[in-house]
Symmetry: C2
Subunit: 247 residues, 2 copies
């Protein structure tokens, strides 16, 4: 594999040998005015479908950057199918959670409103921008989807039969995460999963009962200390990846 | 156990029934001017030695807050003995790493200079302040120590015989962390451990050889994606806690 170019962008267009690409306004600004790329510079492109490609700058001005796709660098691989279902938290921590979850390989970020959720709105575009930027930096070949915010009841009512839930319960009744996850016989044909992280006040009793009653649910414990929601999310994704994912 | 008071402070003084406590200037400012506590308010105190105690405000002015220790709330427990040895990163991410590592139960934060480390100085007081604040918020009974920065060679030359090293190697030669850690027979009498996280450019070849040659070293992989140093640290601590620690 050739050396990674310094700049790596996610784009919507299809990628194929010799394809011509014109960047959108934000990416044009970034390349032309922030990174000051020159004619002939090589960058990497990916779109979540066609793997990663190298592309050469064939035209550059303050308002327009054009590229020609020159070389296939990596094949698209099958990503893990892991949702992170989380109650929204404040801005800086939410940015952070979106970035870290992307680095750690989550396939979908799904905000959910619970009884003790402090915020019931969330800027989907902002979460998506953080996810895209993190994917560009961490060599991922796809950007996680971001769902519109839903209530916990809505989301559980329409929950797919085959998608397992890793429920990080604060009451310490669960087994250790590694024990619980390695007990689940998913090694051969891994089911889709979701990690469910409550708000900082935790879930209320009815919500906990509802979640635990789902046949898809595996209850795990993240230890006796009180973790902030973003910490719990990162810890849970790491444990899932090491037990059942691609680590 | 009685309900947790909203305010929880780490102090240096000894704690015992009916002891009188006078807060230092920063904590006086925080209680008197930021939180505006009243005479008779109850807060929680801990010092890393005597467990957690409730204390009542017996005097409060802008320049002086005095307390009387009223009730033993929690016994001191034996903390895990887990160092996090890390190359310093930029301010916001370093703050964040110190906070998260504290929440996740690390006992010592040890900065280390490596070949590809971008920063070779680090504000120990700033790391310590972040750790203290996180410990106050997450119900921990002790605050992690913070070591003065050392070179990788210095630290490995004086490495304790009985302290194992979880080395998060980027070249993917390691087993998955869970496999590697559960293979280590530490369940009965857990050895002290350290997690070693490289800078964002990774370790150089000589450094990797040096680390791998230590008999204390267990090499683990954190997957194929490129993790930022703070993400890798949080992931590694979570995995260690779940495999060998108190989760």
């Amino acid at each position: 594999m050739s050396l990674a170019p310094k700049i790596r962008l996610f784009i919507a267009e299809s990628l194929a040998q010799d394809a011509g690409i014109m960047l959108d306004r934000d990416q044009t600004h970034y390349l032309a005015n922030v990174m000051r790329v020159k004619l002939g510079s090589i960058i990497a492109l990916f779109n979540g479908r066609d793997g990663e490609w190298l592309a050469e700058i064939t035209a550059v001005s303050k308002k327009c950057v054009e590229l020609r796709v020159t070389e296939h660098r990596r094949e698209q691989d099958a990503p893990v199918d892991l949702w992170l279902v989380f109650a929204p938290i404040k801005k800086a921590r939410l940015d952070f959670m979106a970035q870290k979850a992307t680095e750690l390989g989550v396939s979908k970020l799904q905000p959910v409103v619970t009884q003790y959720t402090n915020l019931d709105r969330v800027k989907v575009e902002r979460i998506a921008a953080n996810a895209r930027e993190a994917a560009e930096q961490c060599e991922r070949l796809e950007v996680p989807d971001v769902g519109e915010i839903m209530s916990l009841k809505e989301i559980l009512d329409s929950w797919p039969d085959d998608r397992r839930i890793m429920f990080c319960d604060e009451d310490l009744s669960g087994k250790s995460a590694i024990e619980a996850l390695t007990d689940v016989d998913d090694k051969i044909s891994p089911a889709p999963w979701a990690i469910l992280i409550g708000p900082e006040g935790g879930f209320d009793e009815d919500e906990r009962a509802l979640i635990k009653a789902m046949p898809q649910t595996t209850v795990v414990s993240l230890g006796p200390l009180i973790l902030r929601a973003d910490t719990a999310a990162i810890a849970a994704v790491s444990l899932w990846q090491s037990a059942l994912g691609k680590w």
